[in-house]
């Protein structure tokens, strides 16, 4: 006896049940708990919007959101600008038989621990680090630059990671692009630049958008990189969330801040999805 034999609707449900159960247990239930928690006070008590009002009325709190959005936007743009030519070289200029190896080398940074990688950047960017020593050694600068413990350091750490991610999504998109599009453009008299701007780039925008969205989501929710490389000279949202938990254990306020962060990510997702839908239409 088969499941599909007894009830044609049972098989699809049986197949999706584990995923649904997983999502319910580890996303829906915790999210609902977090939602309720965000509406209570630290010392217990009834319903309150105080946690949300603190975010909107305290400049040092919403400044964290502004910092998060600024850092994320900068990282996303720089990563796209670096990843696109990299993916292009991999897809178009590296011989097919070497592409797999080249891709593997490209994602090598993923193989090391995220924390170790961030601390490595801290040492590279430090006052006595490789970059400052090289610049002072060749006489370009007299005094070491402050590179570590700055927003620049945070952005550098993020870009190192996300360039690889974006390269993968854009590379996949470029590989799916039929060569006949470019041949047709050439037949119609378009040069390489025009072909790229009017044919290739628009057709690879979905890959860029997907990569950019992934970068946005992972970057805006990341705690490790800004904590290690930013030197706490400005706070981003995940750091603000963690600050509420460390000593005081203020989970209601941490929950409210997390939900606000999730709302921003949701808005970004909806904008991205809508844009992709329009593009397809």
């Amino acid at each position: 006896m088969s499941v599909s034999g007894s009830n044609p609707r049972a098989l699809p449900w049986a197949l999706v049940t584990p995923a649904l159960a997983w999502t319910c247990a580890f996303f829906v239930l915790p999210f609902i708990a977090m939602g309720f928690s965000s509406l209570t006070g630290h010392e217990g008590g009834g319903f309150t919007l105080a946690n949300y009002s603190q975010f909107f009325t305290d400049p040092s709190y919403w400044r964290a959101m502004v910092n998060s959005l600024e850092v994320t936007a900068i990282v996303t743009v720089i990563s796209i600008l670096l990843a696109y030519p990299f993916a292009w070289i991999l897809a178009e200029m590296v011989p097919e038989r070497w592409q797999r190896l080249a891709l593997m080398l490209a994602v090598l940074p993923f193989w090391t621990s995220y924390v170790v990688r961030s601390y490595s950047w801290l040492l590279v960017l430090a006052q006595n680090g490789v970059i400052n020593r090289a610049l002072t050694g060749i006489g370009l600068i007299g005094e070491p630059l402050q590179l570590a413990n700055t927003r620049f350091a945070t952005v550098t750490g993020f870009v190192h990671f996300f360039v690889m991610l974006l390269t993968l999504t854009i590379f996949a998109n470029l590989k799916q692009l039929s060569p006949s599009y470019r041949k047709a453009a050439a037949d119609l008299g378009a040069g390489p630049v025009r072909t790229f701007l009017h044919v290739v780039l628009p057709l690879t925008l979905p890959g860029i958008m997907v990569g950019a969205f992934l970068t946005f989501v992972l970057c805006i929710g990341d705690y490790i990189t800004p904590q290690i490389l930013g030197g706490n000279n400005e706070l981003v949202m995940p750091q603000l969330v963690m600050l509420q938990i460390g000593r005081r254990g203020d989970f209601p306020l941490a929950s409210a801040l997390s939900i606000i962060l999730m709302a921003v990510v949701t808005i970004a997702y909806l904008a991205c999805a809508r844009w992709l839908k329009i593009e397809r239409a």
Binding site: F36, T40, S60, D250
Partner: protein, 358 residues
């Protein structure tokens, strides 16, 4: 007893469901016959735990946490009896007692007479006449510095931390209570007397410190910054930063400035619902013994002064910890600020403002 509102009840049920799910996954990790300890990183050193495990034929399962809030959250999400002992900031012992978590300690079975009197922390470790915590390790949040890069004479005053001479050479330890305590000392206030009225002056002092600082870092980041020469001074540093690095970097040192320093101390507490109270007590006795104290004081994660004066430290270790200077240091040290919940929140928000200041 007060009636719970429906929102709290629902939240509680959902939290319990989530905790139950997490515990189901974690089942098998900790066993009742073992000793389960919620600890700070200095207790996870095998050199500290293995002698106890061998002597008592027991496995010590440890779970590290940072910050009392995070530690108490782990307890909240556990079943009663899951944990046997906990390391906690001495000033936060009452928080655990209020939650009904801790067991009074048998004073006659622990070496209270051997402790430095100044670190017994009776105000926070004794609640309603019962002692719930025993101080095991202490030290100072003060000025840590590289003596080859700064004038050691300058390090005898907290005013140096905000002077132009050291602009960009300073890191601040990222924990608001001790650094606010240091700011209080800098403006001539006693840490025990801080009130909401002092916050504007404290904030002004913190902002001056921030203007001079290159970074505000947690333990590893601030230690790395001082050790690698990224900064020359660590506000809030002390023997916990410099002593462990003394062999590799003997230039690192700390001072107790003329205004004083902030005394940190950590305590051990036993859980009321522990299923292994005899072993929990043995563990506390071991940690408080001369041998245990020496191992804890020189733990690989961070060094600190043993609370027990009879700790079996070598002469070299005592020199690094400046053991013989402790009476003078303790006389000038003030306890961590111990604000009530409302003032604590305001202090943390002030700290957030300082971090965000450009």
């Amino acid at each position: 007893m007060t009636a719970r509102n429906p929102l709290s009840a629902l939240k509680s049920h959902l939290s319990a469901a989530c905790a139950a799910a997490a515990l189901l996954l974690a089942a098998g990790g900790a066993e009742a016959a073992d000793l389960n300890a919620l600890i700070w990183c200095d207790h996870s050193d095998p050199a500290l735990l293995e002698p106890f495990e061998k002597a008592n034929d027991v496995k010590v399962n440890v779970k590290e946490f940072e910050g009392t809030g995070a530690g108490l959250a782990i307890v909240d999400q556990s079943q009663p009896g899951d944990w046997d002992v906990m390391v906690i900031d001495s000033i936060d012992v009452p928080r655990g007692v209020e939650k009904g978590l801790f067991e009074p300690l048998p004073v006659d079975k622990l070496p209270f007479a051997d402790l430095f009197p100044e670190v017994k922390m009776d105000k926070s470790t004794i609640v309603d006449g019962k002692r719930y915590g025993i101080t095991e390790k202490f030290g100072y949040n003060t000025i840590g510095f590289n003596k080859t890069k700064v004038d050691p004479a300058d390090m005898q005053s907290l005013a140096s931390l905000t002077s132009d001479k050291y602009k960009g050479k300073v890191a601040i330890y990222d924990y608001y209570l001790p650094v606010i305590g240091m700011a209080a000392l800098a403006i001539g206030k006693k840490t025990a007397d801080l009130t909401e009225a002092d916050l504007p002056a404290l904030k002004a002092e913190l902002l001056k410190m921030k203007a001079n600082a290159k970074l505000v870092g947690e333990v590893t980041a601030s230690q790395t910054a001082l050790a690698t020469g990224e900064v020359d001074i660590l506000v809030g540093g002390g023997e916990w930063v410099t002593a462990g690095l003394a062999k590799e970097n003997p230039a690192l040192d700390f001072s107790i400035p003329k205004e004083g320093a902030v005394l940190w101390s950590q305590s051990l507490a036993m859980f009321k619902d522990s299923k292994n109270k005899d072993m929990a007590l043995k563990f506390i006795q071991y940690i408080m013994s001369p041998e245990g104290q020496a191992r804890l004081a020189t733990s690989s994660c961070y060094w600190g002064m043993p609370a027990n004066k009879t700790a079996a430290l070598t002469d070299e270790q005592k020199k690094i910890l400046r053991f013989d200077e402790q009476p003078g240091f303790l006389a000038r040290a003030q306890a961590y600020p111990a604000p009530n919940a409302d003032l604590d929140k305001k202090m943390q928000d002030m700290w957030t403002e300082m971090l965000q200041a450009q």
